[in-house]
């Protein structure tokens, strides 16, 4: 630091106040993750020491995992969840990129009306729509089919995705569109060839956020699919809670396996995830 410049006070990192705050935040973080640690440790515990052994088991046993996998037909339901999530995501991305682009960059009649209509019901919870949706899906003959659930997810999750994609496309420059128009490109090919490739980050946000919503969704899945072999994971886990009464290692093993995909997605793509989430929440 040269003499004459404003001397910047460097705060010592170890003031008592900072140490207190640090301890507080550390305690908070530990309390928050404690249930997860307890869950994983319980799943690795020998069965006879679940309720009276030390917190960290003396020996780790993996038996509960294959046991839970078999008893719950975990693989089947896991694949059901993956299939439902992938198909619904494809539909949501297709609908929301196309519509989001149109709302952001094109002028057409009734634009505001359509947008407000789509977005106005974004706050409607599943508990207020599940009865008519059940009847609707039943009426279409799609009860107990993956297709019915997928269509419901696409319909109910598109508005928020359109909102996110519109915000993203609005940030892209208009000049590209004008230039492509001069070159004689049609509106559809401007969207598909020029703008969509630039919107990858926006699509990523939509995919991550909606993947978690679909993977974690319970009420529609539970009502629309009652055939046990077709159920995705969440209703299966719900049923386990009653079945596995005291077989806690198997139950916690199943819970652990069920959250592995979301934890991986969250830890690996945290940045986009948090960006999308705060963008959605704050700009909303």
């Amino acid at each position: 630091m040269t003499p004459g410049t404003h001397p910047r006070r460097r705060k010592s990192p170890f003031t008592p106040a900072r140490i207190a705050v640090f301890s507080l935040l550390l305690l908070l973080a530990l309390v928050t993750v404690y249930p997860f640690i307890w869950m994983v440790l319980t799943s690795l515990r020998p069965r006879n020491t679940i309720f009276n052994g030390p917190f960290i088991p003396e020996q780790f046993i993996l038996d509960a995992y294959p046991q839970a996998w078999q008893q719950t037909e975990f693989g089947l339901h896991f694949l059901n969840s993956v299939f439902i999530a992938a198909s619904a995501l494809a539909g949501i991305v297709a609908l929301s990129t196309i519509a989001g682009y149109a709302f952001a960059k094109l002028q057409f009649p009734y634009k505001r009306l359509i947008y407000v209509l789509l977005l106005s019901t974004m706050a409607m919870p599943a508990t207020s729509l599940v009865i008519p949706l059940y009847l609707q899906v039943k009426g279409l003959g799609l009860l107990n089919s993956h297709l019915g659930l997928i269509l419901v997810y696409v319909g109910s999750m598109s508005p928020f995705s359109i909102f996110l994609m519109r915000a993203f496309f609005e940030g892209l420059p208009n000049e590209l569109i004008e230039a492509a128009r001069i070159d004689g490109a049609s509106e559809w090919s401007i969207f598909a060839r020029v703008m969509l490739p630039l919107a990858r980050a926006g699509v990523g946000t939509v995919v991550i956020l909606q993947f978690l919503s679909i993977w974690n969704e319970f009420i529609y899945a539970n009502v629309l699919i009652q055939d046990p072999s077709k159920q995705p994971l969440q209703p299966v886990i719900f049923n386990l809670v009653g079945q596995f009464n005291t077989n806690w290692p198997s139950l916690t093993a199943a819970l652990t396996m069920a959250i592995i995909p979301v934890v991986i997605v969250y830890v690996r793509m945290q940045k986009q995830f948090v960006a999308g989430l705060t963008q959605g929440a704050i700009k909303g």
Binding site: T32, F108, G155
Partner: protein, 314 residues
């Protein structure tokens, strides 16, 4: 917008060289591009909303014919003790959670904003973990932790010499709402901390510096600088909390199913029981009337947000 766009040179050139009527393609494409979303909206949101409203005035057990009930379902609510309880508990939980999850995460976010480098990032990651887990897994996990005989909370209380604090957390009508509220806070706290933290990061630091130079202490800075600047974020958090409280369902359904003796029954779980888990035939009419009440509460929450944001803009 349209007229401005049409006057740009490039647009005029386009229409001159290609001889297309200006903007017609764009208009057709715009309509065509929003049509699929609109169709899905009509089938899976628009019509269901109308059907909920309509069914609220009807009676139907899924087997017999649909009969007109007039205001019968709503009259039934007036005398239905379970509905009274569910309505009250919904408002109570929504209010308590909104109060708690609007203020506490703001304080935590301010503490995180003191600059902790990589430790802060790790801490926020840990805090946010529960928010990516489903309500079903959350409920299942906490049901084990709160188990009166074998759960780790009561075991912990015994081990640290506080056995008098042990409770039948989910089985005691006087305690169950505290337990559910705590689980809901555990699940959502990190989400709101992250939202507030992002808001704090976006603030201009010079105002805080100016306040500090003027001699404002940390508490004064928080209430007179941070909170006013964060008003839009706070309003958003309040609205999200209200909506999340009103639609509370999964976690209660998994942990208690509304029990013991309806002590934790909320509108969502009661609607579900009436329509899908009735011991007798399903009552879609009464269930839809309950759904309508949930819908009205959500609309009130959204109106509250619009009203507040208009007021603060003036």
């Amino acid at each position: 917008m349209n007229s401005v766009r049409q006057q740009t040179l490039s647009a005029r050139l386009t229409s001159f060289f290609l001889g297309k009527p200006l903007g017609r393609q764009e208009r057709l494409a715009g309509l065509a591009m929003t049509l699929p979303a609109l169709i899905f909206f009509i089938i899976f949101i628009g019509i269901p909303i109308f059907r909920t409203l309509l069914l609220g005035f009807q009676e139907w057990n899924a087997i017999g014919p649909i009969t007109w009930a007039g205001l019968g379902n709503y009259q039934r609510m007036v005398d239905d003790q379970v509905f009274h309880g569910a309505f009250f508990v919904t408002l109570l939980l929504t209010g308590a959670l909104t109060l708690c999850l609007t203020t506490v995460p703001l304080l935590i976010a301010v503490l995180f904003n003191m600059g902790w480098g990589v430790f802060g990032t790790i801490g926020r990651t840990m805090l946010f973990m529960p928010a990516v887990i489903s309500w079903v897994v959350t409920g299942a996990l906490w049901k084990l932790i709160l188990d009166p005989n074998l759960g780790s909370l009561n075991t912990l209380l015994a081990n640290i010499g506080l056995p008098m604090l042990q409770r039948n957390w989910l089985g005691d009508p006087n305690v169950v709402l505290w337990a559910i509220g705590t689980v809901a806070v555990w699940q959502q706290l990190g989400l709101y901390v992250i939202i507030y933290y992002a808001g704090l990061q976006g603030l201009d630091g010079t105002l805080h510096e100016a306040a500090a130079i003027d001699g404002a202490n940390a508490r004064q800075q928080l209430f007179h600088v941070t909170v006013p600047l964060l008003r839009p974020v706070i309003l958003m958090v309040v609205t999200l909390n209200l909506l999340n409280g009103i639609k509370l369902f999964d976690v209660i359904y998994v942990m208690t199913g509304g029990g013991p003796v309806n002590a934790s029954q909320v509108l969502g779980t009661y609607m579900y029981r009436v329509a899908f888990a009735n011991p007798g035939l399903p009552e879609f009419g009464y269930g839809s009337a309950l759904s309508t009440v949930i819908m009205i509460l959500c609309i009130l929450a959204v109106f509250f947000q619009i009203w507040m944001s208009r007021r603060s803009n003036i």
